[in-house]
Subunit: 481 residues, 2 copies
């Protein structure tokens, strides 16, 4: 593979450039002709389809159903919840014209769907029989980005899912908020092989319009945190504004309690950053569009029908065993070129079969993460592939767990806090008095903010890392994407 095609920088040396090259050269995404936007290319979209199908199935098991709401929201509707509007308005794209006509009212390109959805919920919910209302939308949202585009992480439009539920009581909304947070956590840890910290956002960092926000935060190799997903209990803030009321079994009218929650294609960005290496992407098997690439290796590159048909036969056997396998028998590329290309694209397992294997009834696996090679009997290929994929999935998770551990510190003093940030970064566990002034000062001073307040505090932490007063809260600070 020529230098131009492969990754030309080392992950440890120029992380940002390495990331951009992996995204572009593995053909996950591309910059679009509109500034700030990206194109999700087929290979990236296949990963998104797997993420979608797993989550969609889980949402449905929990009783959620999908719907579609318009991408344009009249300004008067978006404005109804004042805090929410104030939070989003700096980044809203506004439609002001249709054809040659100036519109009477500006239409916001959906930055999130709370307002447009809840203006319908108020029509649909009448009685306790209509509750809970559990909906989810797979769509794209737009938030104008002024900083330079970073595919999957910072784009003016992104694909995501947003769940929007309505419940009879606060307890049910609390339960839903946590149920989804736990589902996200399970998915991110088990499928993406990325460990996360779970907890709440502070008042300052919570979703605009929410009662409280729960969040999952992961650490990236450059020591910066990445928010992986959020689940909000919206309380009755929106139901009071949008008049979403139900007649209870007690014959009284009540405002509903609501939640909203979402994850986006940003998850793919996290996978790239956490697992990739100097050769390119490494995909956790559970989300890899191709789990095993089968490559026939012809003697002196001369096609050999018997070998080619054996390679296809093995591919079919793998597929019949539930493995996403693909046979790369293109004649216009050499095996070496293919090895490099599929390594760059992060395929977890390569299965090679050559003339000698044909005689011996063997195949050789090459593992994407360790580079290790394993020769096995052809008859046990599917069984061994499954085991190797499972082990690889576990190895990636264990490696990410080590990284999280290494990039987690505790700071007893502000000096130590700043020293850690200026060296390795990562999560810093520290005490906080609960005063927003301290939180804001730390952010201004260091660029780090409170990423997550864990559900259980650490009683050994007694002082606010900034002001030295009594610590009411144990917080994880970090600089973030």
């Amino acid at each position: 593979m020529s230098k131009e095609i492969g990754i030309t920088v080392k992950k440890a040396e120029d992380f940002s450039e390495w990331y951009n090259q992996v995204v572009l050269k593995a053909e996950l995404a591309d910059y679009a002709s509109a500034k700030g936007f990206m194109v999700l290319r087929p290979y990236g979209y296949q990963i998104w389809e797997i993420i979608q199908s797993v989550l969609d199935c889980e949402f449905k098991k929990l009783g959620h159903r999908n719907a579609y709401f318009p991408a344009l929201i009249p300004e008067s509707i978006l404005k109804r919840e004042a805090e929410h509007f104030k939070g989003f308005v700096p980044e809203v794209f506004w439609v002001t014209e249709a054809g040659d006509n100036r519109l009477g009212e500006r239409l916001a390109v959906r930055p999130t769907s709370e307002t447009i959805a809840y203006s319908s919920y108020s029509k649909w919910i009448r009685s306790w029989r209509d509750l809970p209302l559990l909906l989810n939308f797979w769509n794209s949202v737009m938030r104008a980005e002024i900083k330079s585009t970073k595919p999957f992480l910072r784009t003016s439009e992104f694909l995501w899912q947003e769940g929007h539920t309505a419940h009879a009581t606060k307890e049910e909304a609390d339960e839903e908020t946590m149920k989804i947070l736990n589902l996200y956590k399970w998915f991110i840890e088990e499928y993406l092989a990325i460990p996360v910290l779970a907890g709440c956002k502070t008042e300052r960092e919570k979703f605009v319009g929410a009662l409280y926000t729960t969040t999952l935060e992961a650490i990236m190799p450059d020591g910066k945190a990445l928010q992986m997903g959020t689940s909000h209990n919206l309380g009755q803030n929106f139901s009071k504004v949008f008049e979403i009321k139900y007649l209870g079994q007690d014959k009284q009218e009540h405002y509903v309690w609501q939640t909203s929650w979402g994850v986006s294609w940003r998850l793919i960005g996290a996978v790239i950053m956490v697992h990739g290496d100097d050769k390119g992407l490494i995909l956790p098997p559970k989300i890899a569009p191709i789990q095993v690439v089968v490559i026939p290796i012809f003697y002196k590159d001369k096609p050999n029908e018997k070998l080619a048909s054996k390679a296809k036969e093995i591919t079919t056997t793998l597929q019949q065993n539930g493995i996403r396998a693909f046979c790369d028998d293109r004649e216009e590329y050499t095996p070496g070129w293919k090895f490099n290309d599929w390594e760059l694209k992060g395929v977890p397992l390569r299965l090679e079969i050559g003339p000698r294997d044909l005689e011996k009834h063997t195949v050789t696996f090459a593992l994407r993460d360790t580079g290790k090679r394993v020769e096995v009997d052809e008859s046990s290929a599917a069984e061994r592939a499954k085991a190797l994929l499972e082990e690889l999935q576990k190895r990636l998770k264990a490696r990410a767990e080590s990284m999280l551990k290494e990039l987690s510190s505790t700071a007893d003093s502000y000096d130590e806090f700043k020293r850690i940030l200026s060296t390795k970064g990562g999560f810093i566990k520290a005490g906080w008095c609960g005063d927003q002034a301290c939180e804001a000062s730390i952010k201004e001073d260091t660029g780090a903010d409170i990423r997550v307040v864990p559900f259980e505090g650490d009683p050994s932490i007694q002082r606010c890392v900034y002001c030295g007063k009594e610590a009411k809260i144990t917080a994880y600070f970090a600089r973030a994407y």
Copy 2:
């Protein structure tokens, strides 16, 4: 069921009002708070999910992959193909502001993705090895509607899929255009149970920027035609404008040949119109989210644990046999209410089980289309359900075929042409000289245009129905949605 909940008009008496009531009362869709837009509610979305999953699977079998392109297109990109721009500009929504900033260039909310996609294709396609490029996008597009909103049929935003392919030769593009048209035809006839006429659009009616457009047209019970899907051969019109060139095996540079094609949620509108009756929706089993609704009928409405658990058991058995079954054991509604509600929602088959059935080990099916009731042994419920669903699917198709036949006429003279239009409407087969002036005059005169030029002409038709000159073309005329 109270009058307010059920459909209050007859399909034959007020078709338009009947349609609106079915859409709203079956909870397929609702009007949105933005004028001209609609909300696709969960029940409607489930139908869309089935349509998506079948088509997506077929597209992939043919080698297509999905991708996502931005929803905003810079004006300069949209303008590049002049005819295309002229065709779409009257209905484009324009983003002119982001936050507080006026944008330097207007951004069109995607009315279709040819231009934005092909500005990327020109970067991705270099050599013959990169062809064919076979992509599909599931997204929404916006075209400002000034006429009053008609859910699924006339909305300013709609969900659809758009395929965009690039090929080395015209022949390959021709083949792709027809392959997709035939796939659509198969799907519409076999899944939606709606027969269609296939053929080409005239120059006047073809897609703006296409070499030629192939189309599928169905007739609705009110005698108006509905375009169900189109597949365009774009020739080299876009590749020349967007500089999409490849280096051939002949070492020469060539412009690619392209196709684009799409179907939208309008298909759901057609299903409603063609198959529904005075009680509401009738869904063809192959696209019904619930194919069999199981309703336990308690003696004097008193819940009976044994009966309830038997109903659930039967539901599970049906599901295990690949039937989409749902057990409606809600205690807050009477069986009568449930019967009406599921009939309104078009569930093809109802399975009733009461105390007497429990003793006799029987269940009773009620067929949505004929109202016929069939008592069967409980042990054969799944097998019989499958057969009944298959028969029902066939019956709906046969009924739609009769309607198409009844609403198809041939006109030898312009007087006859007008008389047919003013009575039953429908498709009118007639000769056309090929002159756009005649085509335009007929449209102006009668509101009918050429919906489709069949792939094979009728040699018995010899004169242009308007001017009387030699007929070069056999055309199907109709008024249309």
